[in-house]
Amino acid sequence: AVLPGPAPADWVQAPLDPAVRAVLVGFDEHFSYAKLCQALRYLLRGGPDCLLVGTNRDHRLPLEGGAGIPGTGCLVKAVETAAQREAFIVGKPNRFMFDCVAGEFQVDPARTIMVGDRLDTDILMGTACGLTTLLTLTGVTALDEVRGHQDSGCPARHSLVPDYYVDSIADLLPALGE
């Protein structure tokens, strides 16, 4: 919807859609204060009857050369902070997506490997769902980080330690010979 006027005082006069019952925060390269404002209005109007859902908490999307752009997690945090409430996060490490896959495809966790580059999403979800976990080092995680969790005395951090790692998923090819 087009917001009247240039300033928040105008935006909060715009009528709210009476049918809205959830605010969903995903990756939005057009995120703006105006949208944040509208999200807050719906959440305040609905209270617990208006869901606050985030697709994921990734804080960074890596690009080539070590650069990155802000991830969805940043936008989720902005909405959570303004609304002073916590979002339900659908994405990893929440097991919701695994349950979707397992429901569709007869997946046996004991015979399934989760392959990922991120400890606090991919590996953690894999551990939580009873999958074997395989870390690949072509993404955000370096081995030092894993050692750190491994050597810590903290059980929660141990859930971040993968069963196995490879430098790249290409390293799996020899195991899949003729």
Binding site: D28, S32, Y33, I69, C74, A78, T81, A82
Partner: protein, 315 residues
Amino acid sequence: GGAGCGGGSSSSRSMASCRRLSGAGLREVLGPAQGLLFDCDGVLWAGERAVPGAPELLERLRRSGKAALFVSNNSRRSVAELERRFSRLGFRGVRAEHVFSSALCSALFLRQRLLGGGGGNGSGAGRVFVLGGEGLRGEVRDAGLRLAGEDEPAPGEPVRAVLVGYDDQFTFAKLAQACGYLRDPQCLLVATDPDPWHPLSDGQRTPGTGSLTAAVETASGRKALVVGKPNTYMFDCIVERFGVDPSRTLMVGDRLETDILFGKNCGLATILTLTGVSRLEEAQAYMASDSAAAKDLVPNYYVDSIADLIPGLDE
């Protein structure tokens, strides 16, 4: 319990007890006070309307020889604009030098950190990337700093600080730009204030600097240095300019998590006014809580409105 009652302010008092200030108590508390620090939004005014009796209170303070200074987390306006606002809303005699906004204090903080506090001509000190409006940008310029995105950068003028303020033109692109600058570990991340939202006159809320700062912190993996209340930097600015004695100064505010905690952190006795954000029930809930942190959010006293302080002053 008798903690925090009567006898004016002592800086190392035990737990505050949120007593209504009235009658003889008013005179006991206001009598010894040399000055009062006031938050602005929700205390002196709400939107474009002065709180009834607030201008008279300031006038009576002046006549009683007590100082009135102003400390606001609102980073939208320059102190010059705030001086005009005071006047427009009917408050007499408030000058820009009496007003400490988070915009001003953030600029002073950055000046100290980037220029060594001496002013100088800014060359080689680096630039500041500001997420905020013209009021905030003006204060940063007035402090002798150069803003990223304005004029051609000179060689050796990297961005040395990202300043997050109230920015109703905040976008994903600006967030990405801020993160780019923050990849340099030498680049400071500073926020004007932690406020998650601000009330609007019709009961709605608008997102505050705190929500934008959370986005920048999450994207950059850094924690911001927060200038505004409840942190004490703004009090340091006040002391530097006016030499205030905390044991003879009262903090008056409407938001427990910022104003009252600020008072506690600076060693000031605190008065909550109920014309703004926080409800009395919230203060009482903090008082009943087992958590030590919650106790720090309990005001020593409360009033329905700052107009209720008038009878505590001499005729």
